[in-house]
Symmetry: C2
């Protein structure tokens, strides 16, 4: 019974997604697979606690209190706080999009993005996901991932976004070996025809690769031009992660 | 019974806080007021879903998946994404700490902070809280809050941090009137003796004040010097909030 209620509460939270961040009660019930009275009761409890909020139209959104709890995730804002000064420096050095991401299965999750009004358009958002094989940060994270995790991704399917997306396992495997040799990755027009990214690994105090940092620049820009700045940022963040964070 | 389980799940999430982001199972049980077997079962369910994660020591932390769900909060990352380009411009104009905050009762919650390596030290963190009356962003948010919300704060208690913290209701009331006249707030050494902040209101498409933006600079700096840049950022963010956001 406890299992059932907990899984229902989690199903309600999972009903919200970037493509539908605002849901009516009946939409929540349908997406969570719950009878309307059950959804009504649980949503009421979640809203009283602050995990959900109602907007002016009466629809439900994720609440500020859940955002606060989520901000305690070490791979979310904890990592992001350590990285921010170095991401700022990287942004100022190029005024292009700067991204920080972690690996979750076959996908990358973006934990930070700095995007000026003069940067090339990018399709990512903070808290958003992309297939790891198609992104610069993902190539870095896969290159240094445990072999079992790599093999699961190489077993496919690999999603095609453009004519240049890596969808052949052998080609992807060769690129991952290249990334380990070079210490950085270039993803050239694999997600969109208008942009490429240059990414480098972020390591924790034990030397494990825990995140990747990248710049996303217009297609046609020489990637090599951005490599030193991206490596500098990655090295700075790695250094910050190897000392215990100051607590506010 | 459903109520009970839901409240237990929420009590487990609420056991985590900025001052203790990592907890053992027995610490979770104690803080949530639950018997150890109950905590064990619910924590297991939360961990399988990704709401909690175990670190190398075996202790539990908030998980990446809860961070992702939390990132959908409109007053969290939604607001923050709209504001980021203008916060970047503000940061580049002064290289001081830049903050974006919303009001929750008598406290402000910081939804963004840009802090360079050259900025004065600040005690806030993203996802952190401070009493509204003692901060620049809080004075702005209180000044434009509904009268009932203002009165609850004025009824106290008002926490003292420094000799200059506003703790007299009459003095605070006068400052709020001044903020409405000026259109910005200055909080001079109210939180720490080393810093002051200049803050301005962010409005949604309907004209309601939904957030505040500030710079935190070393004490002794002339506040007036930062007012134009802060007002420009606030105006830019307000403009971005008055158009529907693009969806990635």
């Amino acid at each position: 019974m406890g299992d059932t209620v907990t899984s229902r509460v989690l199903a309600i939270l999972a009903a919200f997604a970037p493509s539908h961040p605002s849901l009516t009660l009946s939409e929540i019930a349908r997406r969570a697979g719950l009878p309307l009275p059950t959804a009504h009761r649980l949503v009421g409890e979640l809203a009283r606690w602050g995990a959900l909020e109602r907007d002016v139209s009466g629809a439900y959104r994720i609440g500020l209190r859940l955002w606060e709890v989520g901000s305690l995730a070490p791979r979310g804002l904890g990592l992001r706080e350590a990285a921010m000064p170095f991401l700022e420096d990287l942004y100022e050095s190029c005024h292009q999009n700067v991204q920080l991401a972690v690996l979750d299965g076959a996908e990358v999750v973006f934990v930070e993005r700095i995007s000026g009004r003069r940067s090339v358009r990018v399709v990512t958002r903070v808290g958003g996901r992309r297939p790891a094989a198609a992104t610069g940060v993902g190539l870095v994270l896969l290159a240094y991932a445990p072999a079992a995790a790599q093999e699961r991704v190489l077993a496919g399917p690999l999603t095609r976004f453009t004519a240049r997306t890596l969808v052949e396992p052998a080609a992807l495997r060769a690129v991952l070996a290249q990334v380990r040799r070079d210490g950085y990755a270039v993803s050239d027009r694999q997600i969109e025809d208008v942009s490429l990214s240059v990414a480098a690994p972020v390591r924790d105090g034990g030397g494990a690769v825990v995140a990747a940092v990248s710049v996303v620049v217009p297609a046609g820009a020489p990637p090599g031009q951005f490599v030193p700045a991206v490596l500098t940022a990655a090295s700075g963040i790695s250094g910050a992660l190897s000392v215990p964070p100051a607590r506010a």
